[in-house]
Symmetry: C2
Subunit: 352 residues, 2 copies
């Protein structure tokens, strides 16, 4: 079998990270990279900062130049957070008869907020004999799939709390700006009002994924977003929050079933949590038969986690039945420590 | 769609528990029960201790009488721990063109110790257009599938520790005898030598499942079994261990890859662990990129967990492609809080 052939669309922190991870794996080649602006025409290796060695050159190009019919087994789309914005790009790839893994948060369960676009993606994928999945660390695993897995050993479930207390310190300037690190409370409130500050994207998707998986009909989902105001100066590699200003964002999400609050999402993210005695971690707390009281501490880091989830799901999406797939439809994610070709169903290989 | 039709084979603690759980679910009927000895001819409701109400009677019968061609969508086989012993029963059901969920520990990954029987089961299932799965709390979830899921957010994995520290106190007289609770150290050693004391069954299966999932070639698996000798008298509802005698079993398993110890299983089980300051819990400890340091405490109780896993996987095994399936092939387990029929692919329904 030929190596698994991958094209990466978007060479920001996520796409570059996936490229680097793939270069350390067996049985898989990066055969194309799509970028924009000044990156076009450059070597992918130069942009991601890895020695090319004796590997064939990969020159960054436009989507039209790089993504041609059946040019790869899968395209990793790392360009967006929202289904609506990603849609045309995803459609473009599917129509070239190539499978897609998208890191867009909303694509982890597009049925939640974009049912019409989800339906279209499903139809386009089926018409072209390929499949598409959105995944990442969260949504994609920590606050949804992991919860679903743990309900699997429950006879019944009454109430779910999914909590992720994480540090933003490892992230770069873009995340600092997106999450409002260092701004005043007034600026934060204005940013939320104008939609400039997004905070975490994914509660609608995580709550819908859990409730659909276990058979609860969610009738209402609400979310809230508040500033985490620091009492002391906090400094991370790329962020600084003066005492009295914003050091992070406290995101909450609530899913109601039959008028009752059944699913709670609690996701405070901030720089330098340790400085104020906050222990980071991922929590799954299920009230049911039996109760589940699980914690992974410290939390799975967001960047590495998303990179790994997208790469590790490549075999599953290549092997999947055509259509729109989600993490609750497919076999579980897993690290790939052997030759990736061993995981591929020969009948599903595109580049034979 | 007709309700999902289930036959239960074996009405011990596990089979009875599954029956009770199913009676609380929507869209599913128990249409048959297979038992032996004095149970034959009795009402299943009487044996499991549940009011029949206006449900149709289910009389316990022999396999030949109850399990006829396409009489149900799935049979829950709760009769054995070992593939070799269960084989003829499983074959019998598959040849009646009915799907199977087995609670036999070795059936969670029969490829590990019975590759020839696993191949035969796969062939028989395919020839009859149905599928078969072995599952339970452990093996099935805690010390294997959950580990695999958490490797899914890892770029690479160096070493795995899977630990389950559990209490045997909730279990009845059979488990007390099987695990040697209350016997002397001499008796314990003799029991291990003669194969009379089995301890936990499943390390070969769990280690093989993890290593196959992530692409490690296991070249050697070793296991050990030692008595947990108590310093104080310990008393549980069905067990008693005098100071100096056996209060539990410390099971360990080791998987070697390329000459290196890569997978460690650590599973001490005992009555009244709290009495000697032992905190129970399920642990997943992965050394990799990133590290994972997860604990669920107290542990998922073994009985309820196995009952729930077997019942909750019914939709997945009905929908599966024909053949022998394992937990790493199928979509993740999940609680079933809605109508079970909503989870069934109409094309895969046997009793239309």
């Amino acid at each position: 079998m030929q190596n698994v052939k991958v094209i990466i669309w978007g060479l920001g922190a996520m796409g570059s990270g996936m490229a680097k991870m793939l270069l350390n794996k067996k049985g898989v080649d990066i055969v194309g990279a799509v970028g924009r602006g000044s990156k076009i025409g450059k070597s992918m290796y130069e942009v991601i900062g890895v020695e090319r060695g004796d590997r064939p050159e990969v020159l960054i190009g436009s989507a039209e130049d790089v993504i041609t019919e059946k040019a790869a087994d899968v395209v990793l789309c790392c360009t967006d957070s929202y289904t609506k914005v990603a849609f045309e790009r995803l459609k473009f790839v599917l129509e070239k008869k190539i499978n897609v893994v998208s890191s867009a948060e909303e694509m982890s369960y597009p049925q939640a907020q974009q049912p019409e676009l989800a339906k279209q993606l499903d139809e386009i994928a089926k018409a072209n004999g390929v499949s598409i999945l959105g995944t990442g660390i969260n949504p994609g695993l920590i606050m949804d799939l992991l919860v679903v897995v743990m309900t699997g050993c429950c006879e019944s479930v009454d109430h779910i709390i999914s909590r992720r207390v994480n540090s933003l310190s490892p992230f770069g300037p873009t995340v600092m700006t997106e999450q409002g690190i260092g701004i005043t409370v007034e600026e934060f409130k204005k940013g939320v009002e104008t939609g400039h500050l997004a905070g975490h994207v994914g509660f609608q998707e995580s709550i819908s994924m859990i409730s659909d998986a276990i058979g609860w009909n969610v009738e209402k989902i609400t979310t809230s977003m508040d500033p985490i105001v620091t009492d002391v100066d906090r400094k991370s590699p790329y962020g600084f929050a003066k005492a009295g200003n914003v050091a992070g964002v406290a995101m909450k999400g609530y899913g109601y079933i039959d008028g009752e609050l059944k699913i709670e999402m609690d996701h405070p993210q901030q720089i330098e949590p340790e400085q104020v005695g906050v222990t980071t971690g991922d929590y799954v707390i299920i009230k049911g038969t039996p109760n589940i009281n699980m914690v992974n501490s410290p939390e799975v880091p967001g960047g590495i986690g998303t990179i790994a989830m997208c790469v590790n799901m490549i075999p599953q999406i290549i092997n999947a039945k055509p259509g729109l797939r989600t993490m609750i439809d497919l076999p579980v994610p897993r690290a790939i420590m052997g030759d990736m070709r061993n995981l591929i169903d020969p009948e599903c290989k595109i580049v034979k």
